[in-house]
C-alpha cells in the first residue's frame, strides 16, 4: 500500500499513542484507587488502636 497522506496517517498515529496513554492512565488510576483504600484502612486501624489504648 502507498504511504497515507499526513492527515489520514495522523488519525492512526494519534489512536495508537492514545491507546498507550489510556492504558497507562487507567493502570495508574486503578493502583491509585487501591492506595486510597489502603489509606482509609490504615485510618480505621489507627482508630482501632486508639480505642484499645483507652
Amino acid at each position: 500500500m502507498p504511504a497515507l497522506p499526513l492527515d489520514a496517517a495522523g488519525v492512526f498515529v494519534a489512536a495508537a499513542y492514545g491507546v498507550f496513554l489510556a492504558l497507562v492512565v487507567l493502570y495508574v488510576g486503578i493502583i491509585g484507587s487501591k492506595i486510597t483504600r489502603i489509606e482509609r484502612e490504615l485510618r480505621s486501624l489507627n482508630e482501632l488502636v486508639r480505642r484499645s489504648d483507652r
Binding site: 504511504a3 492512526f12 495508537a16 491507546v19 484499645s52
Partner: protein
C-alpha cells in the same frame, strides 16, 4: 520494602518518556516507505519487547520463589506478569491500528509474528484465573510460580520459532545484520525502548508497594483483632467495681 528508590525512578521515567516523545515527533525523520504512520513503531515495538521481557522476568521470579519459598518473589512474579498483560493489550491494539493503516487490514492471520503474540497473550490470560481459583495461599503461589516458569520458557522459544519462519509482511527490527534504520531512527528507537523499560519498572514498583502495604495492613488488622479478642475475656472475668470477690474453691 518495595518502595525504596521510587521517587528518583519516577523522575527518571518522566524525563525519559518526555525525551522519547520529543525525539519521535521532532527528531526522527519520516520513513521513506510508510511516511508518518511509521511513528507507531516507536510505541508498538518497545511495548512488545518490554512486555515479553516482563513475562520472562515473571518466570525468573517464579523460579526464585519455587527455589527459596520466599513469597516476595511470588509477588514480584505476579506483578511483572500482570503488568506485561496490560502491555500486551497495548501491543495488540497498536499493532492492529498500524496494520490497518499500512496493510489495509486490522489483523492478518497468516502473519506468524501477530498470531504468536496473540497466543502468548491468551496463554497469560489463563494466569489470573488459575491463580485465584486456588484458595490456599501457599498452593496458590506454588501453582502460579510453576505456570510462570513454564510459560516464561515458552516465550523465548516461541520468539525464536517465529524468527526461524521467513516472514513476508512483518518487518524485522532487531537482527544480527543490523536494523537497517538511519542513525536518527535507531537512536530514537533506543531512547523509546529505555523509556518503556523505565515506565515498566516504575509501574511495577508502584503496584508492588501497594500490594505489600495491603498485605501488611491485613496482617496488622488480624493481629489487632486477635489481641482485642484475647483481652475481652479477661475484661469479662475482672470483677465489677464494688462486687464481692469470690474466694477460690467455692
Amino acid at each position: 520494602m518495595f518502595g525504596k528508590g521510587f521517587a528518583p525512578l519516577s523522575i527518571l521515567t518522566a524525563v525519559a518518556v518526555a525525551a522519547a516523545a520529543a525525539m519521535v515527533f521532532f527528531y526522527a525523520p519520516l520513513d521513506a516507505d510508510q511516511g508518518f504512520i511509521q511513528k507507531i513503531f516507536y510505541v508498538h515495538v518497545p511495548m512488545a519487547i518490554v512486555g515479553l521481557l516482563g513475562f520472562v522476568a515473571g518466570g525468573i521470579f517464579g523460579f526464585q520463589h519455587l527455589r527459596s519459598g520466599d513469597r516476595a518473589h511470588d509477588l514480584r512474579s505476579y506483578v511483572a506478569i500482570h503488568l506485561s498483560i496490560v502491555l500486551a493489550v497495548g501491543v495488540l491494539a497498536t499493532g492492529a491500528i498500524w496494520a490497518k493503516a499500512s496493510w489495509g487490514h486490522w489483523w492478518v492471520w497468516s502473519e506468524p509474528m501477530l498470531t504468536s503474540y496473540l497466543i502468548i497473550f491468551l496463554l497469560y490470560c489463563c494466569y489470573q484465573p488459575l491463580r485465584f481459583s486456588i484458595e490456599d495461599p501457599d498452593r496458590q503461589a506454588r501453582a502460579a510460580s510453576v505456570f510462570a516458569v513454564t510459560a516464561g520458557v515458552f516465550v523465548p522459544v516461541n520468539f525464536m520459532a517465529v524468527r526461524a519462519v521467513e516472514s513476508v509482511t512483518h518487518p524485522r527490527v532487531l537482527s544480527t545484520a543490523g536494523s537497517g534504520m538511519p542513525a536518527e531512527m535507531a537512536v530514537t528507537f533506543l531512547v523509546s525502548l529505555v523509556a518503556m523499560a523505565l515506565l515498566f519498572a516504575t509501574l511495577w514498583k508502584l503496584e508492588l508497594s501497594g500490594k505489600q502495604a495491603a498485605i501488611e495492613l491485613r496482617r496488622l488488622r488480624a493481629r489487632l483483632e486477635l489481641d482485642a479478642e484475647r483481652s475481652e475475656p479477661l475484661a469479662d472475668a475482672r470483677p465489677a467495681p464494688g462486687a464481692a470477690a469470690v474466694p477460690a474453691g467455692q
